[in-house]
């Protein structure tokens, strides 16, 4: 089974979803990501979904869940690069992902994570990028 790589950049984790998500992959990603947040003491999680063309309610809920789990583990989640068609679908499904921060691209997402971490009083073990 294909696996979605979780990359570590400084105190952030970058997840770039390049293939169509199916449910078991989504569950595996949740497991993997929460484990990595704890192991790497990450403060931010960025999920890039710019390659994702189809999002159903399950994937929408998964994004919401990941954000909630990260929050419990004191990490900020930013979803970046959502396509217009995907955004419309999610809104029509009634999933507006109110708990998730969003940004247009990876650059802006990284800036948003920095800003959010600073607002929370900075990181204990902040390493320069």
């Amino acid at each position: 089974m294909a696996e979605i790589p979780v990359l570590k950049i400084g105190d952030c984790l970058l997840v770039s979803i390049q293939i169509d998500m199916h449910d078991r992959l989504a569950m595996a990603l949740q497991d993997d990501l929460t484990r990595r947040i704890v192991a790497d003491r990450a403060r931010g999680v960025m999920i890039d979904i710019s390659a994702l063309e189809i999002v159903d309610s399950f994937i929408g809920r998964m994004l919401n869940n990941i954000a909630a789990m990260s929050r419990v583990l004191d990490a900020v989640t930013v979803v970046v690069g959502m396509r217009p068609a995907v955004a419309i679908t999610l809104v029509e499904l009634g999933l507006s992902l109110t708990g998730v921060r969003t940004a247009l691209n990876v650059d802006k997402g990284l800036a948003l994570i920095r800003q959010a971490i600073d607002e929370q009083g900075g990181s204990f073990a902040r390493r320069s990028l």
Partner: protein, 291 residues
């Protein structure tokens, strides 16, 4: 069945074309078709002559009671052409229908004269003629309405294209000036073009200006909320501007919660957007050109 084949209408139409035409034009003049000045006397005469010729051609087939047969093709074409041109001129449906119905008076008069005092025969002929002209009239109206509908449909399409421009106000700031009532179809177009433009421009802030939206009800508010939510999902913030006092009252009375920053004017929204992006507009007297 036998009575129908006995009708003298085809023979009368063929034999008295000029007399009928004159009497018909007279009756049309009396009914005030020309009064509005939208149709010239020459055009009216031309239309009438062509229709009458087509009528006698159709009636010659003997099927006076069924204008759907191929023998009446010519008559139907003339009617279509006439009603379409009148619809384009902006004439009312009754004015267009009067064109056909006014043929009744001269035709009945002709029938009366040729009936030779036979009431049975006259009644039968009148009934046949009435049926025929009613069918022609209804056909005219149908075509008229169809061509009107086509015009309305085209205008709707044009309006849809016209009313969804997304304007780049500054680097990273887009404006969507909404004009007219929002319905589901329009909102879909508006939403799509805004989101596409957000991606293309990499805009962080989108101002939705509703100065031109006449009323905001729960449905319109729902559409606005959806657009804002979709833009947020993509990582852009929305500001709603141009809320008139009346609309502010309506929103509160309806108990709506827009859940988005709103400003009274687009200028305020623009100022806020600039501040969000860490930019400012400053006054510099030295840059002002000498008067």
């Amino acid at each position: 069945m036998e009575a129908k084949s006995m009708t003298a209408i085809p023979r009368l139409l063929a034999g008295n074309e000029q007399a009928l035409l004159d009497a018909w034009l007279d009756s049309q003049r009396k009914s005030g078709t020309l009064r509005s000045g939208q149709i010239s006397e020459a055009q009216l005469g031309n239309d009438s002559r062509r229709l009458l010729a087509a009528l006698s051609e159709g009636a010659a087939s003997g099927k006076v009671d069924d204008i759907a047969t191929p023998a009446w093709d010519h008559a139907r074409n003339v009617l279509e052409e006439v009603s379409r041109s009148r619809a384009a001129l902006g004439l009312s449906p009754s004015e267009t229908a009067t064109f056909v119905f006014s043929l009744k008076e001269p035709l009945f008069e002709l029938l009366r004269r040729t009936a030779n005092g036979d009431p049975e025969r006259l009644a039968h002929e009148m009934w046949t003629a009435t049926l025929l002209i009613d069918k022609l009239g209804l056909y005219t109206i149908e075509t008229f309405v169809n061509s009107r509908d086509a015009v309305i449909l085209r205008q709707q399409q044009e309006l849809l294209e016209l009313s969804t421009p997304v304007v780049r106000l500054w680097e990273g700031i887009l404006v969507l000036p909404l004009i007219g009532t929002l319905d589901s179809a329009r909102t879909q177009t508006v939403m799509e073009s805004l989101l596409e433009e957000i991606v293309a421009e990499g805009a962080e802030i989108a101002i939705i200006d509703i100065t031109g939206v006449p009323t905001v009800d729960t449905l319109v508010a729902q559409h606005l909320i959806k657009t804002v939510a979709a833009a947020r999902l993509m990582g852009a913030d929305c500001i709603i501007s141009g809320i008139r006092p009346q609309i502010a009252q309506t929103i509160v009375h309806l108990g709506l919660e827009l859940g988005v920053i709103s400003k009274a004017t687009m200028a305020d929204a623009f100022a806020l957007a600039l501040r969000r992006l860490g930019k400012a507009v400053t006054e510099n007297p030295r840059l002002r050109p000498e008067q």
